[in-house]
Symmetry: C2
Subunit: 219 residues, 2 copies
DNA sequence: ATAAATTTTTAGACTTGTCTAATATTTTTC
DNA sequence: GAAAAATATTAGACAAGTCTAAAAATTTAT
């Protein structure tokens, strides 16, 4: 039975590893987890003792199979609860992360599986992230960053990389939501901003924005 | 912002106080909370410093107004989650307590209130206990222990005092559920057991059982 | 390829909530 | 109303998870 802190470390290692698939550094973990590097080192030793991670001093860390399974269970719970909050309890997609951070640590396999059934086995959370099934498996979507599209290309919004309330709120304000179709009208080489068209209007998006919106390209 | 341990102490003080309305003893708390008496003393000092309880050495403890409000919020959440688990997630009434013990500590007023709405403002949890509203108010039911009924009297099951899985399972096995009407046929003065009739059958219940079933008497 | 900068680890300390053992207070009993 | 029993508190210790400051290892730059 893992502590809340241990589960949070495993989740953070999972996410960092899947961003740039190499061993995760102490500093990256400390910045994500908002702790000091020395605390991270302490915890990595403990997780290594429990065979949840593979850790060699000064070499970074990665999850063991057991660690990955555990991380995926926590992520599954996090995303299912997010769906619940949005679909059943009238939450907006920018309000759910913080609460799901708490709910993801509730221990009850039956609870998780019944919640999954109650929500009708959702495949994605409100931010477009895939929900692992009971066995930790999930579909990898065919998607690119909006910033990768060329002028004239179009696609459907299918997710966000940055799911901070600030970004999600900004998208709400621009009426950009998952499912909307965007067409790239211009790309400004000076600042990498883009002019995109949707819903009969056009909008300029900063590089910051286009590098955080996932698109499923048309064709 | 209170810790999980602090919330559990407040809840335990609340429950013990409402059983036999006098100041709650250190030993009673330690037995409910499964800790040592010395740990209880330590925590009571801390809660007194935070003005959540009124505590004088060797004199027992009771909740301050602020402490009672806090305890009622935790109890409200516990009971709402129990309703959710039974009504929406197919749990039996003997399975929900343990999970609700975890869920009751989730911090989000909006979550609690939306859950309340989603469940259509339930008045009682699956064990018949009242659910405090947003302001901490709840209806006190007109009920007595089954053991208090005389021969020939009848009433409807409206709650259980002991909500341990063992007792709830026993009731399930006897097909006794909330809402059932019971009629007292015999009372045995030797061991205080009772013969009760319901659903066209008769059953002998031990004193242990009759002292843990709440009945709303007919007339 | 060495010096400087960065990253990581170690050592020792603090907080929360718990424990055991010893002591103090209250309650019960005779 | 004293002695015995029960209850409660204090003192000191420990584990988990964190911190700061100092030391060690690695990476980068010249």
């Amino acid at each position: 039975m893992l502590s809340l802190a241990e589960e949070n470390y495993l989740k953070a290692i999972y996410h960092l590893h899947h961003e740039n698939s190499k061993a995760v550094s102490t500093n990256d973990l400390s910045s994500i987890l908002e702790t000091k590097a020395s605390s991270v080192t302490d915890m990595l030793k403990k997780l290594a003792d429990k065979n949840l991670v593979v850790y060699k001093k000064y070499q970074g860390v990665k999850l063991s199979d057991r660690g990955e399974t555990t991380a995926l269970k926590v992520i599954r719970k996090h995303r299912l609860w997010e769906v619940f909050l949005v679909e059943k309890l009238n939450f907006n997609w920018d309000e759910v992360h913080e609460i799901a951070e708490q709910l993801e640590h509730i221990q009850s396999e039956k609870l998780t599986d019944e919640l999954d059934r109650f929500l009708d086995y959702p495949k994605r959370d409100p931010h477009g992230d895939p929900i692992p099934n009971k066995d930790g498996q999930f579909a990898v979507a065919n998607k690119t960053m909006l910033s990768e599209l060329e002028i004239g290309e179009s696609g459907v919004c299918v997710g966000v990389k940055d799911s901070s309330p600030a970004f999600l709120n900004y998208l709400d304000k621009q009426a950009i939501a998952l499912g909307k179709t965007l067409i790239v009208k211009e790309k400004e080489s000076f600042d990498q901003s883009m002019l995109v068209a949707y819903d009969d209007k056009a909008l300029r998006l900063s590089e910051q924005a286009t590098q955080n919106l996932y698109i499923k390209p048309n064709s």
